[in-house]
Symmetry: none
Subunit: 225 residues, 2 copies
Amino acid sequence: MTRILVVDDEPQIVRALSINLRARHYDVDTAADGASALRAATHHLPDLVVLDLGLPDMEGTDVIRGLRGWTGVPIIVLSGRAESRDKVDALDAGADDYVTKPFGVDELLARIRAVTRRAQPADEAPPAVVIGTHTVDLAAHTVTGGDSEVHLTPTEWQLLEHLLRHPDKLITQRALLQDVWGPQYLTETNYLRQYMARLRRKLEFDPAHPRHLLTEPGMGYRFRP
Amino acid sequence: MTRILVVDDEPQIVRALSINLRARHYDVDTAADGASALRAATHHLPDLVVLDLGLPDMEGTDVIRGLRGWTGVPIIVLSGRAESRDKVDALDAGADDYVTKPFGVDELLARIRAVTRRAQPADEAPPAVVIGTHTVDLAAHTVTGGDSEVHLTPTEWQLLEHLLRHPDKLITQRALLQDVWGPQYLTETNYLRQYMARLRRKLEFDPAHPRHLLTEPGMGYRFRP
DNA sequence: CGCGGGCGTTAAGAACGCGTCAAAAACCGG
DNA sequence: CCGGTTTTTGACGCGTTCTTAACGCCCGCG
């Protein structure tokens, strides 16, 4: 869930934005002035800040700098002022985007999507998973740790990836066969037995008693972190 | 040096932007239509793309998607159309920002700074990398050290560059072929075999047993520092 | 208690991908 | 137009990986 902090001193704008954002399944915090905005951000770091520049207590650029001092959270500025100078100041202070009022809600939402999309990869949680003594990094395609060096073949990676991307979830045999081998292999469960065994031999501490790559008899397999 | 690809079919706009950008010490490439824009980006990946939406040969959103298919390079859209719908479409296709014409140059420059600032952290650039007895300097495009003099061809540089920019990370064959040769060579893995062999012959201490330019059978290649 | 399905294991041949050599074709500067 | 460099293309041996088959075991069920 993406958490958005809306900062504006006009209650009706805050209200309208909150309703629209919540309807899109965003989590919304609000603040009516710069000081409480900084406090709210400190208290619970949002994933994005929508900031009106016309606040009663502080310069808008100071609010931006106050945030930028300690966080890289994306900031979208709302402002009634369309002068080039204001935009340049806000953007150079650290804002990610600048929208002039009056603005279309659809456009703001699209800009929110664009900015969060860009910011995501930076602070994304580590895509590394631990299995026994080994650590699997899906992004780099590496297996580290463990005493012996481990190398996985393409098919092994594909299979492992599907399991690791859905922790604790049961993946049916059909789903795995479909995704790794294709639609015409849906009944070749022997492939799964073969390759699950290989994965366990390479990753599990005791392949005969797997603790992470589990079998659900008659159904499929499951990865337990 | 930040390299910017300017795409617009109006020569005077291209010219004005080029002058302004070069004055700010940006490196500028230009393209007049969608097809040559995609080709230019493939040939030498820019750090940012400024894209006019009113191109003669392609839909603007298709150009965006054409880039997004294989790179996360920041894209700022220029457009004469101010309708909310156009903005939403472009942003959701993968654009990072949308500026309506006529626009102030100062504003565009500020938005360029904002977008590149956000994109920067992703690619930290270690200036020099050591492979065996040789030292490769990506910025200067030089190979020093080693007893024998080493000269790399353009294709060899491109290939090596992609590997060195992502240390320890597996780069798939498709990604390398896409970035070095272009989208229509995705299956020509023999090119990779050929040029990886040449790089190893020129850089590795023992080309038959590479220690830094590693093969991941069936998947791709990896640079280990 | 005997039976059968599903699972893990082992073992084999087949198919594929990689590194390599070699040579033709395209490119480039003089 | 020529000579050298660079890129593209084809072919082959070899090791790895994939595919396929067969066997034993556990467990639920009749």
